[in-house]
Structure formats: structure tokens, C-alpha cells
């Protein structure tokens, strides 16, 4: 299946979890300062390991940056 990760297409095995995608970005699973939205909806950290992605979904993995 193909999803969109931070605006770029990404081919994943079926039933890949949000946690696996977060890990693939190097953002680190348990680290504070990371948040995930799937199709615009926030996925709570506690649900990353159990939320399976499906074809065509848009995933945003966000991290802390310097900002005023």
C-alpha cells in the first residue's frame, strides 16, 4: 500500500503501525516533542502502537523546532 508521509509518497507493508512509521523517520518512539496526525486527526501517543495505516492515508509526523 502507498501512504503519504509528510507530503511524500511512501510504500508500506499492509497493516504497518503509526509507531513503525514514526520510528522510520528517526523521530524516536518515546521521545517528547513528537506528534502525529493521520488524515488531519491527532493520533495520541498511547495509540501509535495499535493504529494500523491503510492505503492512501496522509500521515504527518511533527517534531519540535526552534520558534518564537
Amino acid at each position: 500500500m502507498t501512504v503519504e508521509l509528510n507530503g511524500a509518497p511512501l510504500v508500506l507493508a499492509p497493516r504497518t503501525t503509526v509507531a513503525a512509521v514514526v520510528a522510520s523517520t528517526g523521530a524516536g518512539g518515546g521521545r517528547r516533542g513528537v506528534a502525529v496526525a493521520v488524515d488531519g486527526e491527532v493520533v495520541p501517543r498511547s495509540a501509535w502502537g495499535t493504529t494500523e495505516l491503510s492505503d492512501g492515508q496522509r500521515i504527518e509526523v511533527l517534531g519540535a523546532i526552534q520558534g518564537g
Partner: protein
């Protein structure tokens, strides 16, 4: 005997409350614009700040070092912002993501109306504030220096109002001190001057006008020597607060002698 007030050990500001928590420093520092994390660390330490702002963006795998780890190591409170949001909907979503990322209900709410001036979009800002208050957030809105909008934001349940002195990053200082005074006079939540500060005298003026705190980023992060400017800002905020509490003399058109004419000799 008069209370001694010149002791250098005596704090020049008093503790204050923001969002139901007790703070010592009245200077909030944005982390944007520093050229390196080590430079940021030195400036944050020199500033004496307890609260720093951060933003959320798509993760960059090549990012060096962890901003959050640094902030945690310094023991500072992480205040996420909604920078870059142009609609209430985007700002509310960003705030919810920030709540997940930083495990805090606090948000510096920015809803921008124009990319040239970065001035707030008042209707969108108020709508976002109302939604986030209802969602249980502690909302600190970056707002225009508009007393009516500030009152509306307070009525909506915001924990503070944060009027600008001038556009973000402009360093133009406090362009309308009268409006800031009117906002301070009417507000019963803390007023934090956010944006426009260029140098130490601007921060001191904000406090002399009665603001409870100052939030700045570029004035320190883009200064030639950020740590030195951070220390200057810390002292300016303390000095402005002390001067406000001390009660300044009125401005007069004509002179008023400080030396009495009584006992003046006739030497002619």
C-alpha cells in the same frame, strides 16, 4: 527604621502567577532565530527565563541535537506556539498536536492574517481562543495592541493577553504605548508584551507601562551577542518592573527645582 531597599540580594521583581502557576522570571524567551543550540543555551541561561516557546514542524531526520532535551536539561517550561497558522481551524489542530507532543495544555496562540506584517487575524484569533478554552487549554494569545480585542480575549477565558509592541521580528519597539496602557488598565489577567522588542529600553518601557511580563525572541537570538543581550533584557525587565512599582514622577513642561531657594544668600 525604613526598610532597606538597596540590598543587591533583594529581588527586583516579585513572583507572579500565570496560568495558575507561580513564576519568578517575567521574561519569556522564544527559541526561534538562534544560530546554534549552544548559543541558545548560553542565552537562555543568561536571560534567567523559566518559560521558552517552541514550534512544531514536519520532522527533519537531519536535525542535529534535541531541542526538547536541551530545554528539559535546563529545567525550563516548554510553551508550544501555533506559528504559521492562518486560520482558527489550523491553529486549533496545531494546539492539539502540541498538547500530544509536549504533554501540556498551554499554548501560545498565534493566528496570522498577513505574511508581510505577520499581524494577528482578529476574528480567527478570537474564534480559535474560544474553541481552545472550551477544549481545556491554557490559552496565551498573541494579539494586536487593541484594547477591545484584548478584552474580548480575556472574556473568552484566555489566561493572559499578549499584545504586540510592533510586528514580529521588526525590533521597532513599542509603537503605541497608550494602547498598552489602556490594555493594562482594563485587564484582570496578566498582560505580556509579545513581539516588537528591539533592545533593552523597549523591554523596560513595556514593564514601566505596567505589563506583567515580556516575551521576545529575535531581539536576543539575532543580536550579535545573544547571551549578552539576554542578560541586558533580564535586567531591563527587572528595572522596568521596579520603576513601575516605585512610582515615577509626573512629566512637566517646565522645570521644578530640586534645591530650595530658602536661605539663598544675597551676594550682589
Amino acid at each position: 527604621m525604613a526598610e532597606r531597599t538597596t540590598d543587591s540580594e533583594q529581588p527586583t521583581t516579585e513572583r507572579w502567577e500565570l496560568g495558575g502557576r507561580d513564576w519568578s522570571s517575567r521574561l519569556i524567551v522564544g527559541t526561534g532565530g538562534f544560530r546554534s543550540l549552544s548559543q541558545m543555551e548560553a542565552a537562555l541561561e543568561a536571560s534567567g527565563t523559566e518559560i521558552v516557546t517552541v514550534a512544531l514542524r514536519r520532522v527533519d531526520p537531519s536535525a542535529q541535537g534535541s531541542l526538547v532535551e536541551l530545554i528539559d536539561r535546563l529545567g525550563l517550561f516548554c510553551l508550544p506556539n501555533t506559528a504559521g497558522c492562518y486560520t482558527a481551524r489550523d491553529a486549533v489542530r496545531t494546539a492539539h498536536l502540541a498538547r500530544e507532543a509536549f504533554e501540556t495544555e498551554w499554548v501560545k496562540l498565534e493566528v496570522i492574517g498577513d505574511d508581510r506584517t505577520l499581524l494577528p487575524d482578529a476574528p480567527e484569533l478570537l474564534a480559535a481562543a474560544e474553541t481552545l478554552v472550551a477544549d481545556g487549554f491554557t490559552v496565551l494569545p498573541y494579539t494586536n495592541d487593541d484594547p477591545v480585542l484584548a478584552a474580548r480575549l480575556e472574556a473568552a477565558g484566555c489566561a493572559a493577553v499578549m499584545p504586540l509592541g510592533a510586528p514580529i521580528g521588526s525590533g521597532a519597539g513599542i509603537r503605541n504605548p497608550y494602547n498598552l496602557r489602556i490594555i493594562v488598565e482594563a485587564a484582570s489577567v496578566p498582560v505580556i508584551c509579545d513581539a516588537g522588542i528591539g533592545t533593552a529600553s523597549d523591554a523596560a518601557l513595556a514593564m514601566e507601562l505596567g505589563c506583567d511580563g515580556v516575551l521576545l525572541a529575535s531581539a536576543v537570538s539575532r543580536a550579535a551577542d545573544p547571551a549578552r543581550m539576554a542578560l541586558a533584557m533580564r535586567r531591563a525587565v527587572e528595572a522596568g518592573y521596579a520603576a513601575r512599582r516605585a512610582g515615577r514622577i509626573p512629566r512637566r513642561l517646565h522645570a521644578e527645582a530640586s534645591t530650595t531657594d530658602d536661605g539663598l544668600p544675597e551676594l550682589g
